[in-house]
């Protein structure tokens, strides 16, 4: 099975059912299918070949959801990019994957012109309105495509071993890595998750997380697979609006991350009828046990799933809800159809209670990192059978006697803020780009809402006039929102270890 057949099968079976509610629009499966076919036919007419990369640089929107399926229908590989990504990183990703096309918002015309100049592989740009007078032979308008191209389903050209998407994630080295997923990886992972969540056609899921984030993306893919309805929002900035929408649309599924749950629990929920809610899911970072209790008290009629995963395997573990009382700090067992165990650095499997690296086996183990054989070799290693891949997660875990997994720590120093991975090195590199910055060190500090907040320490060259505000403004101009430090401290020196390296353990 191919991913875009999630949509095609549902469009054949349930053409008139509402598939997507977003931006004030209610689209049926037939509507989504027709729009995706038109865009796919346009991309093909522009010369897109099987396996070509198409970057999608858009906020959660109707066009973003449609573009994901359109790229796959056209035989391409979609590369979703967080809409708050700044120019340098965006250009890096587009060049790294040699993107042939880019689908983005017409508002960012300066950025588009820069990309056209500096990304030689870019042949076509599709602009979602307003196009602001942008034109040129490489620029097409989404609206014109919808008016001009056929809504007939293009004939398939892929098999399920072909790549479907590259999801760029932050790595500890500071350079983003593109996780390669083929169609079979995604189809397997989506099916396994649908199985344990027990999703059915009547489910109505609210999508708050960006489609550029795999957790957000899979809400769309899974919902279209089981023929449900997705209420797609741009985030949880205005919780009251989201709660009202959940009541109006009778939402049954609420996927969140700890920051969203913290905000939710601060609200007075008595004004909203959320009785249709069937389940809530949490992943990206662990929920504190007190939150688990509070969520269950506020939504006694709904089931809470604690989960763990990394983009390299999509989802890895989930806690069957009946174990929540006894094992509230566990993230559970391997998802259906997969296995996982814990190894020490010598490759020996460890027993219950011992701490080691989590190793994952199953069809959800992705295909490696795009154009990064060394990084791939660290994370994806040969398994027991010839040709198979295991994922070495880089996360330390232990199990209890019954085989339930408990997260202990990360092996690297990556910070988790708002459920997103922030490698200190990526923030430090941005600070070091300023001439006056002599030293920079970035750490995570505990924060009740963010999980960890990012704190930066900087030593400036003597006589430098840079202020905290200058440093923060520079970060904001060069980093995604969730990577911008919450705290910035200018110091005259930083603590050092005997060999002269900055000793972050002494910073706080």
């Amino acid at each position: 099975m191919l991913i875009h057949q999630f949509l095609e099968n549902s469009a054949d079976r349930l053409p008139d059912k509402i598939a997507l509610i977003c931006d004030g629009q209610r689209l049926t499966y037939a509507d989504v299918e027709a729009q995706a076919n038109r865009l796919a036919n346009a991309l093909r007419a522009q010369g897109l070949q099987r396996g070509d990369r198409v970057a999608l640089y858009l906020p959660n929107s109707v066009e973003m959801a449609i573009a994901i399926f359109a790229v796959l229908k056209a035989g391409g590989v979609f590369v979703p990019i967080n809409p708050t990504t700044k120019y340098d990183k965006c250009a890096y990703i587009l060049n790294h994957c040699a993107a042939r096309s880019l689908i983005t918002h017409g508002r960012q015309i300066d950025l588009i012109n820069q990309l056209l100049q500096n990304v030689p592989s870019l042949k076509t740009i599709v602009l979602v309105s307003p196009t602001n007078g942008a034109n040129g032979d490489r620029i097409m308008s989404y609206d014109a495509i919808q008016a001009d191209y056929s809504e007939h389903r293009p004939p398939p050209i892929n098999i399920d071993l072909d790549l479907a998407c590259l999801i760029y994630t932050s790595g500890s080295t500071g350079e983003p890595k593109g996780v390669m997923a083929d169609h079979s990886n995604v189809v397997f992972a989506a099916s396994s998750i649908i199985q344990y969540l027990g999703n059915i056609e009547s489910d109505i899921v609210i999508g708050l997380l960006p489609l550029s984030f795999d957790y957000g993306l899979y809400q769309l893919l899974m919902t279209f697979k089981f023929g449900g309805t997705l209420v797609l929002e741009k985030g949880f900035t205005y919780p009251a609006i989201i709660l009202q929408r959940m009541e109006e649309e009778r939402v049954t599924g609420f996927p969140g991350v700890p920051t969203i749950f913290t905000m939710l629990l601060k609200m007075d929920l008595s004004n909203y009828d959320l009785s249709n809610l069937r389940y809530l899911t949490n992943t990206a970072a662990a929920l504190p046990p007190s939150h688990i209790t509070e969520i269950r008290d506020k939504f006694p009629w709904a089931t809470l799933f604690s989960m763990y995963g990394l983009t390299e395997t999509k989802r890895t573990l989930y806690l069957p809800p009946e174990h929540l009382d006894q094992r509230s700090s566990s993230v559970g067992i391997p998802i259906p159809g997969t296995e996982a165990w814990i190894e020490n650095d010598d490759g020996q499997r460890l027993k219950a209670g011992q701490v080691g690296e989590l190793v994952v086996r199953g069809r959800h183990v992705m295909r490696g990192y795009w154009n990064a054989p060394e990084k791939t070799a660290v994370r994806f290693r040969p398994g027991p059978l010839p040709g198979e891949r295991l994922c070495y997660t880089g996360d330390l875990f232990r199990t209890d006697e019954e085989g339930f997994f408990y997260f202990v720590a990360r092996k690297d120093d990556v910070i988790k803020s708002r459920g997103e991975k922030v490698p200190p090195k990526e923030v430090e590199q941005v600070l070091y780009a300023l001439e006056d910055v002599q030293e920079a060190a970035v750490i995570g500090v505990a924060d009740p809402v963010l999980g960890q907040a990012i704190k930066a320490f900087v030593v400036l060259n003597p006589g430098s006039l840079l202020t905290n505000g200058d440093l923060l403004r520079h970060c904001r101009a060069n980093l995604e929102d969730f990577m911008v430090p919450r705290f910035m401290e200018i110091r005259t020196e930083l603590p050092k270890s005997a060999n002269g390296k900055i000793n972050k353990l002494e910073l706080n």
Partner: protein
């Protein structure tokens, strides 16, 4: 200082880390990528502190928070109710 000026200054300094607020008062925060979800929570706290108004959960909506003008109108309406 007018409410609009207080807000411009605060958002410029604490969110944009800039000396000036570069947009017009009527321009949408969302469309210009000025605010993220955390900033909105902080702005609510700022309004309560700075202007002594109480903001209820259901009032934290784009109609009240998506531009300098909307926020200023919201503050004034709250102050009138209180007065």
């Amino acid at each position: 200082m007018k409410v609009e000026e207080v807000l411009q200054k605060h958002i410029a300094e604490t969110i944009l880390f800039s000396n000036i607020y570069p947009y017009s008062n009527a321009e949408s925060f969302t469309e210009n990528g000025v605010l993220d979800s955390m900033n909105v929570i902080e702005l609510v706290a700022f309004l309560e502190r700075q202007f002594g108004v109480q903001v209820a959960d259901h009032e934290i909506i784009p109609d009240n928070f998506d531009s300098i003008s909307k926020m200023a109108a919201f503050v004034r309406s709250k102050q009138q109710v209180a007065a």
